[in-house]
């Protein structure tokens, strides 16, 4: 458990899981009244440092397999497994002020187009999407995280951008997804793992099982994630 | 009280009524162009406040009534809601605490006025250098103010005010920080400058020699009120308050006269005077040389004799000034020989005597 409170289960979750894991917490606690789940969300990189520096956490859920593999290699987490996927979409603000009808429009220099930075997963995937579609996009910003990218599209600062399906789902009144061209299908994989140092291995196990259970998957699907 | 001074068109006239923090000032001043007025008063009498009101620095408390006119231009008139900012009054000020600009050299301090009124830097510096030379401190030109002694700083402050070629000059105790040698030297410079300066000059001081030596008119201010005005001579000859009398080197007492006796107002003592017809409030003047001192009770013609103690023995040039304690504080001048023969020393007992004819009485 976290700190001195041994009944609670501390879950470190990537920021894009905020809403899904809020619901997850409630559902799990209903199912396991004796366990108090605490969710601490932060950027993937912050979670990585926290785990390395011995954060008193029990479960880690990230938005990318690479950092999780690194943690596993270092022996800091055990048995990472995929629990959700997310797909890339082309998002435009509601009303589509930039008149982006298809993927080719992304190469229009007059449009404001954003993607994630190549160093972060959604940027990696965005590049895969663009390569697959064969578009030489005129990029105005490479946002360090997908939330800030989705936010900029939502307020209309950007005319279009490549974000996750879950981002569009979480602000349906502001974002519209434009279908990707055929044959372009890039999926992000979300891994979850037990922290090696956990003092509640059983609780951690149970939480992960819950996430991967039908009930957990339903919550994730509801938030726009693809199944494991 | 005092003579009314008509002010010439080019002069300065100020009417100031204000109360702040329980201290109220009620003073009217007029200074003719080309003449120097001294504002003489004890510490805390309100001299600096009057200067602040004239120069436009004072934060005016509500209910103040100020009007200031200089060279026929009304600079301020609270009833007409007129107010001129300090920089447009063209009144030069030398401050009690010099207030040189710490981040400029002495030369640039003095050049500040000319530069502010439009001269170019080189020209302003040239003017400044000549003012500094006039005050005989050219070697200080390149120093920073914090490298000056108190007296040096004050000289530079005077040069700075003069260099701005103001219409009127206000000086707040400009000589207070100077040593005796520098003081008479700066006093000479000041007088030359004041004399060649065509506007009105107001000199604030608590030192009567400054007032008497440099001023054409003197205003005495006590506790926020002008208590006497006149030429230095008039003030010296007929002091109107004990403070002025002390300044003029004489003794003054207020009292109630009846049948040739005067019961002093502030002291538990009665003097005998010659004029038996006088009745009511009177002012008595006793010149310090008119009093004789004796080791024992003198048996002479003197009508006023009393026993007292010596408070202070001060050699003043060729005479020695003795200050007597109760019942009547009095300054007495004697010769150094008398001090020795009478064994006068602070706290020692002594008899004092003065003839009734030596006490001059005027109706108050």
């Amino acid at each position: 458990g976290a700190g001195d409170d041994s009944d609670s289960l501390l879950v470190l979750a990537a920021a894009s899981l905020t809403d899904a894991f809020d619901d997850m917490e409630i559902a799990f606690e209903v199912a396991n009244p004796s366990v108090d789940v605490e969710i601490s969300v932060a950027g993937s990189s912050a979670i990585g440092v926290q785990i390395e520096q011995g954060a008193p956490a029990d479960v880690v859920a990230l938005a990318d397999t690479m950092p999780m593999d690194a943690l596993a290699e270092a022996g800091l987490v055990e048995n990472p497994s995929q629990f959700a996927t997310n797909s890339m979409v082309l998002a435009v603000p509601i009303g589509n002020p930039g008149k982006v009808d298809d993927f080719e429009a992304l190469s229009d220099a007059a449009l404001f187009v954003g993607v994630c930075a190549p160093q972060v997963p959604c940027g990696r995937y965005a590049r895969e999407v663009l390569d697959a579609a064969g578009v030489d996009a005129s990029i105005d910003t490479e946002e360090p995280d997908v939330r800030s990218l989705a936010g900029k599209i939502a307020v209309g600062e950007l005319d279009a951008g490549l974000v996750y399906a879950t981002d569009v789902r979480s602000i349906p009144d502001r974002l519209v997804a434009i279908p990707l061209p055929d044959g372009v299908d890039v999926r992000a994989e979300y891994p979850i793992a037990i922290v090696s140092d956990t003092d509640d291995r059983d609780g951690a196990r149970r939480f992960i099982d819950f996430v991967r259970s039908a009930a957990g998957q339903a919550i994730l699907t509801d938030a726009g994630f693809g199944g494991a | 009280m005092g003579t009314d001074v008509a002010v010439s068109p080019k002069g300065l006239s100020a009417h100031i009524r204000l109360t702040r923090a329980g201290f109220s000032i009620n003073a009217d001043l007029e200074v003719e162009a080309g003449s120097t007025a001294a504002l003489l008063g004890p510490n805390g009498a309100g001299k600096s406040s009057v200067l602040g009101a004239i120069a436009g620095f004072l934060e005016l408390p509500a209910g103040s009534e100020i009007s200031v006119t200089l060279a026929e231009r009304s600079l301020e008139d609270t009833t007409a809601r007129r107010w001129t900012p300090p920089e447009d009054r063209n009144i030069g000020v030398v401050f009690q605490e010099h207030l040189l600009f710490g981040h400029m050299t002495v030369l640039d301090n003095v050049a500040f006025g000319p530069r502010s009124t439009g001269s170019r830097t080189a020209e302003a510096r040239r003017q400044a250098a000549s003012w500094i030379e006039l005050l005989g401190v050219s070697e200080l030109s390149d120093r920073q103010p914090h490298e000056l002694s108190g007296g040096q700083a004050q000289k530079i402050a005077i040069a700075r005010a003069l260099a701005a070629s103001p219409d009127a000059l206000l000086l707040d105790e400009p000589l207070a920080a100077l040593d005796v040698a520098a003081r008479s030297e700066v006093r000479r410079v000041l007088r030359e400058q004041l004399d060649s300066f065509r506007g009105p000059r107001l000199l604030i001081t608590h030192d009567p020699s400054d007032a008497f030596l440099l001023a054409d008119t003197t205003f005495v201010i006590e506790n926020g009120r002008i208590t006497q005005r006149g030429t230095p001579d008039e003030i010296r000859r007929s002091p109107a308050t004990p403070y002025v009398a002390a300044l003029a080197g004489t003794n003054l007492y207020a009292g109630l006269a009846a049948h040739g006796s005067v019961l002093l107002a502030d002291h538990d003592h009665t003097f005998t005077i010659t004029d038996t017809s006088m009745t009511g409030s009177v002012l008595l003047t006793v010149h310090p040389t008119a009093v004789s001192l004796h080791p024992d009770c003198p048996s002479g013609s003197q009508r006023n004799v009393w026993n007292t103690t010596v408070e202070l023995v001060e050699p003043l040039g060729d005479i020695v000034r003795i200050t007597l304690g109760g019942p009547v504080p009095m300054a007495v001048d004697v010769t150094p020989a008398a001090v020795t023969s009478l064994g006068l020393r602070p706290s020692g007992p002594v008899w004092a005597a003065v003839k009734a004819t030596e006490i001059s009485a005027t109706p108050a």
Binding site: A15, S40, V41, A42, A46, Q53, A55, A57, G151, S170 | -
Partner: protein, 261 residues
């Protein structure tokens, strides 16, 4: 009665606009109708309580440690003084996330100092309210140190000499003469440190995590709401603005106006 110079006023208005326009922008997108329900959510109430506690505690810690540090930097001559002076500005320059990571490297459970500390006492800073206070102190203290050191260095030293001649020990001089003399700057420094601590996000989330009721302060609550519940995020931001403006305006005259003539 003074006419302020026009050029100064024009520049001042432009400068003020830089602060006022974003505030107006924020007010323009504020969900006024839902404000009540958004702000009474217990996430927000917990975060507000925690934010007030930790920001005040951090401001006090910053004062208790920062004033002596400022005094030492200004009054004691030692090798490396200007290096230390520069290091004090570290939290200003370092992106807060990196600052939080650096704190973890030093004071985390595996940190250079944190590990022996945890082994000896069992006391773990990260993911505790103490950790929030530490992270807040770390980012807020430079403000206080710099403000106070500036005041100390430009203060008139002569009253201190006068106090010493009256028999006052250096500590008494510090307490009874130096501190009161720089009181306006000290107050300004504390207010600055408090305001910075109130808004602190990056170092806190990295060092102390983001746990409702324990480490989730208002800025962290804004962060978790940004995605799905933008209205809540804006409402909380507005709450922070209101809290700080209310505090600063209430302290007006006492903390901001000059007290000595």
């Amino acid at each position: 009665m003074r006419r302020p110079p026009a050029i100064l006023l024009v520049l001042a208005v432009i400068g003020a606009a830089l602060f006022v326009l974003p505030l107006i922008g924020l007010l323009g997108v504020t969900p006024w109708t839902d404000l009540g329900s958004l702000l009474t959510d217990d996430v927000v109430v917990d975060a507000l309580r925690l934010s007030l506690i930790t920001s005040v505690a951090a401001a006090l810690c910053a004062a208790v440690l920062g004033v002596p540090l400022a005094w030492t930097l200004s009054r004691v001559e030692f090798r490396g003084r200007s290096l230390l002076r520069a290091v004090v500005t570290l939290p200003l320059v370092l992106p807060p996330v990196v600052g939080g990571a650096a704190l973890l490297f030093a004071l985390g459970r595996r940190g250079a100092v944190g590990e022996p500390l945890a082994n000896a006492t069992g006391f773990v800073l990260p993911f505790s309210t103490w950790g929030v206070i530490l992270a807040n102190t770390f980012v807020a203290m430079p403000f206080l140190v710099i403000t106070v050191e500036g005041a100390l260095s430009s203060a008139d030293r002569r009253p201190e000499a006068a106090a010493a001649s009256l028999g006052a020990s250096p500590l008494t001089v510090f307490r009874r003469v130096t501190l009161p003399m720089i009181a306006p700057s000290l107050r300004a420094g504390i207010v600055l440190a408090w305001a910075r601590a109130l808004g602190e996000f990056g170092a806190t989330v990295t060092f102390a995590g983001n746990l409702q009721g324990r480490t989730q302060t208002l800025p962290l609550a804004v962060f978790v709401s940004l995605d799905a519940n933008r209205d809540a995020a804006i409402a909380i931001s507005l709450l922070m603005v209101v809290v700080s403006v209310v505090v600063l305006v209430a302290l007006r005259g006492r903390w901001w106006e000059r007290t000595s003539p």
